[in-house]
């Protein structure tokens, strides 16, 4: 369920850049702290914010931090254009506007008592990291946690220290792969779908949450269904060009849905037909 911001959703709130840390050559994690007079809104894993870089523009960015920490908002951003480049080059102490959080979240409450299967590709691990925090902090409420993560190459993998830490957690299986590995890489090489055969999935008791490029999600869904997961137990995070973030402008319309308001997280059944329409 979406959390409705209590303040005017169109009005950016001032946040201070606390820290920018480098994850990969082009991807950075920003911690933003609210200015003294305001509080960071609670968020649901999977929700996003609109980040305003003053003088440059506004960007929709998924929240990648710990939902239990209410004194900050954390985002992982890939620097691919002028606005993202400007955002990741903000210095500590500079000010950024934040609207949100917006949109639907991952079904972390509905998944209680069940195995949680997180499948992420590339920067798609960022919106899923809050789910992992939530499951690990409430370990007895969930069954097994299976994290399947694929990246382009070893140097493109996010959160490498955390992945190693998560792998040591009870009832948690972390499998990481890269599409291209150099001779020095001792881990798995192959696309993310090749990890499923090592994952010991129990389809009847699993809920899968998938985030990555759309084509990757299609391959993953095929694999999940092949392993016997029901469509009702597969959730995806969709990405489109969000502008207003509250369903006014229509920029992110996806068939009958607005990604910003009805998504970004959808049950697969809701969007399965749309995924096959390349024009959308």
């Amino acid at each position: 369920m979406a959390t409705t911001p209590k303040i005017d959703p169109m009005l950016p709130q001032p946040f201070v850049v606390h820290e920018v840390s480098k994850e990969t050559p082009d991807t950075f994690t920003l911690r933003l702290d609210p200015e003294d007079t305001i509080k960071a809104s609670a968020f649901q894993p999977g929700q996003f914010s609109m980040l305003w870089v003053f003088g440059v523009g506004e960007l929709p960015i998924s929240i990648s931090g710990d939902p239990a920490l209410h004194d900050r908002l954390v985002y992982t951003v890939r620097s691919v254009g002028q606005a993202t480049h400007s955002l990741v080059n903000q210095k500590a102490g500079s000010s950024v506007g934040v609207r949100g959080p917006f949109g639907s979240g991952w079904p972390v409450d509905a998944a209680r008592g069940r195995d949680v299967v997180v499948v992420a590709g590339g920067i798609g691990l960022a919106p899923l990291r809050p789910v992992i925090y939530q499951v690990l902090q409430n370990r007895k409420d969930y069954g097994r946690l299976v994290i399947l993560y694929g990246g382009r190459s070893p140097r493109d993998l996010l959160y490498r220290k955390e992945l190693a830490k998560w792998a040591r957690s009870p009832e948690t299986q972390v499998l990481v792969t890269v599409d291209y590995g150099g001779l020095g890489w001792r881990g798995h090489v192959g696309v993310v779908t090749t990890l499923f055969k090592y994952s010991r999935l129990q389809p009847a008791r699993s809920v899968a949450m998938v985030c990555g490029p759309e084509i990757m999600m299609r391959f993953v869904i095929r694999e999940l269904e092949g392993h016997g997961l029901s469509r009702d137990d597969i959730y995806l995070s969709m990405e489109r060009n969000m502008k207003c973030a509250v369903g006014f402008c229509g920029h992110c319309q996806y068939g009958p849905h607005f990604i910003c308001k009805d998504g970004p997280v959808f049950r697969y059944e809701q969007v399965s037909l749309l995924l096959e329409k390349y024009e959308l």
Partner: protein, 153 residues
């Protein structure tokens, strides 16, 4: 102690195989072990064996002039390594290197080819199983070719 018969009979690759055929497989099988860094086979070598990996990880490498070698795929416990033994000219297309200590069951492809020629029911069962693996790896290769995580500019 696990016998070759039991390991082969219980391996998913051979699931549903008639008991007589399983015995034929066992007669072509032996336990092998590779130290980390050693090559199990190299591109261009005669391909007369395939392997059921029981422990460790194997890297499939491609080498080309003026390119650093790259690992295109890794195979692990439970995976089948090698199908070039099945199709003429029976030569390996890649290098296969043990990343860590690898224990496997080697199946004599030359022996199996002869038995498949003699018994087409066995040949069909073997081909069905390899076709499934080839399909899975072709799918994975197509997905890999899309390079989905690259920045599109």
């Amino acid at each position: 102690m696990e016998t070759l018969e039991r390991i082969i009979a219980e391996h998913p690759f051979f699931a549903g195989l008639d008991g007589g055929f399983t015995n034929l497989m066992v007669s072509c099988a032996s336990n092998v072990r590779f130290q980390p860094g050693t090559y199990i086979f190299k591109e261009g070598d005669a391909a007369n064996t395939f392997y059921l990996i029981r422990a460790g990880k194997v890297a499939l490498e491609v080498r080309a002039p003026q390119h650093s070698p790259i690992i295109i795929s890794t195979l692990e416990v439970g995976d089948i390594l090698g199908w070039s033994w099945l199709l003429a000219p029976y030569q390996w297309k890649f290098h296969a290197r043990a990343i860590d200590e690898v224990r496997a069951i080697a199946l004599d492809g030359k022996c199996l080819r002869t038995k498949c020629e003699e018994n087409h029911d066995l040949g069909y069962e073997v081909l069905k199983r390899f076709a499934r693996i080839i399909e899975q790896r072709l799918d994975a290769t197509r997905f890999q070719l899309l390079d989905v995580y690259a920045v599109k500019r």
